[in-house]
Subunit: 245 residues, 2 copies
DNA sequence: ATTATTGTTCCACAATACGGTACATAATAC
DNA sequence: GTATTATGTACCGTATTGTGGAACAATAAT
């Protein structure tokens, strides 16, 4: 189904450049204008894109992808199961609680409950981050087979954004072993002045599908609070895994 | 491009039933098993779905749709532009601030900053609601041409969930006229005990693409706070529209 | 043991996606 | 002002490609 492939590529190209016209897309994708036009018409008929007002037809996404996204990375409505636990975690800690899934060698923040404190750590929803340095990312990595970890490691190196810290391969392996032992991951090297603790959420298959984390400003972080956060996360993750199983 | 249409239907069916097998999908969609299987293989190759572990092959979504969704309803990164204003609004009001887009005759909550108060209004991200009774929905409707409003009205009536309040058509028209005059919409008939004020965000084309709202428990709501919220929203919406233009 | 259901492969047929060419309109250059 | 490029859209004959019935092995239900 070549046409499907092309149509999906067109869809993603529209997402990246919206609002955008046929010709620009065609040159971007190195495809004949006619083919792109056909794909656009089909995607419009299917309700995934719409022409924005104006003389020259510019294409933009509808929210149809959003309907899917709500369910992506979540068998059985991950969010519905996890959200109550996130509320409880915040109540118990008064700190910011994050839920992230992994996609394309990165973690993606899909839900967040914020600390009530004036000083707090805020990340944008939908934001992406390296798996090698975040608490959520390392918690997930620790539950993946070694070869997949390697793939992700390489992919992260390739991406290699400026100023990004990438741990040595053996240092990472050692840390992941420790994470497996403890059951949770921590980081203070992701955002300056933020200490985070994370645990993986594994579906019924045992594969990690998401991770929960608690972030605190280092000024509010102590040995005691770190222990408390780790314990709470482990407890809730256990209950969540139970519910998903 | 019939195949594209079918593939997209399969994709959405997978989203609705994941994890799900070929046969169930085929009967669900009333399509020959072979066609569905072909579509699944293509979607897998394209990276939109993956087989979940297990003997019998069950299909589930990857997070690829999520990548699109982040950009849906937002040319020029709507969220990036709006988020700082939401932060400022919450700082100024200490109340919950919502950002919603509209899709398929409903409003969808895509970003939320919560009130620091113990008593606060919390809606789930990605949640959907009628446009006819929400502050965000009415703010958007007031900026749409009359015929589109009618389409949405009819669609909402058809959906007709149990216990859902649907205003009379002329009452709605009158209210929307008032919203156009004031520039903002209010509601207290959406969630019991919650008063909300909303304004539309119109892109460069003048079409409404999203809406901002402030929600407060009625116990904390007064004539003064309502005036304040409306003014702040209008001010910020103006600045946002400026930036988008 | 028997039956129903599932995921998967094969294949001949024709439907349909393909992309070159063409045309009209709107920005741009001169 | 005209000339020129770039853009969105329509047409059309060819063969590439998607189509769905039938058959298969393997599991689950009876």
């Amino acid at each position: 189904m070549n046409s499907v492939r092309k149509a999906l590529l067109v869809l993603e190209a529209v997402a990246d450049h919206q609002p955008v016209g046929v010709s620009e897309l065609a040159s971007q994708l190195a495809q004949p204008k006619t083919s792109v036009q056909r794909a656009l018409a089909t995607l419009r008929d299917a309700g995934w894109i719409r022409p924005s007002a104006g003389e020259r037809t510019r294409w933009e996404l509808t929210f149809r992808a959003g309907r899917l996204a709500r369910k992506a990375g979540s068998h059985f409505g991950l969010r519905e199961v996890v959200l109550p636990h996130m509320e409880e975690l915040r109540r118990q800690t008064d700190e910011t609680v994050h839920l992230a899934v992994y996609d394309d060698s990165e973690v993606v923040l899909i839900e967040r409950l914020e600390s009530p404190h004036a000083v707090r750590h805020v990340e944008p929803l939908g934001g992406r981050a390296s798996m090698l340095v975040t608490a959520t990312g390392k918690a997930i990595l620790a539950n993946l087979p070694e070869d997949e970890v390697n793939v992700i490691y390489e992919a992260t190196c390739v991406r290699e954004e400026a100023g990004m810290f990438i741990p040595m391969k053996d240092a990472l392996a050692q840390e992941l072993a420790e994470v497996r032992l403890l059951g949770y991951a921590t980081t203070s090297s992701w955002r300056d002045g933020v200490f985070a603790t994370g645990v993986a959420i594994t579906g019924p298959s045992g594969n990690p599908i998401a991770a929960l984390s608690i972030s605190t400003p280092e000024t509010r972080s102590s040995d005691e609070s770190r222990r408390k956060h780790a314990l709470l996360l482990l407890e809730h993750a256990g209950q969540i895994n139970e519910k998903l199983g």
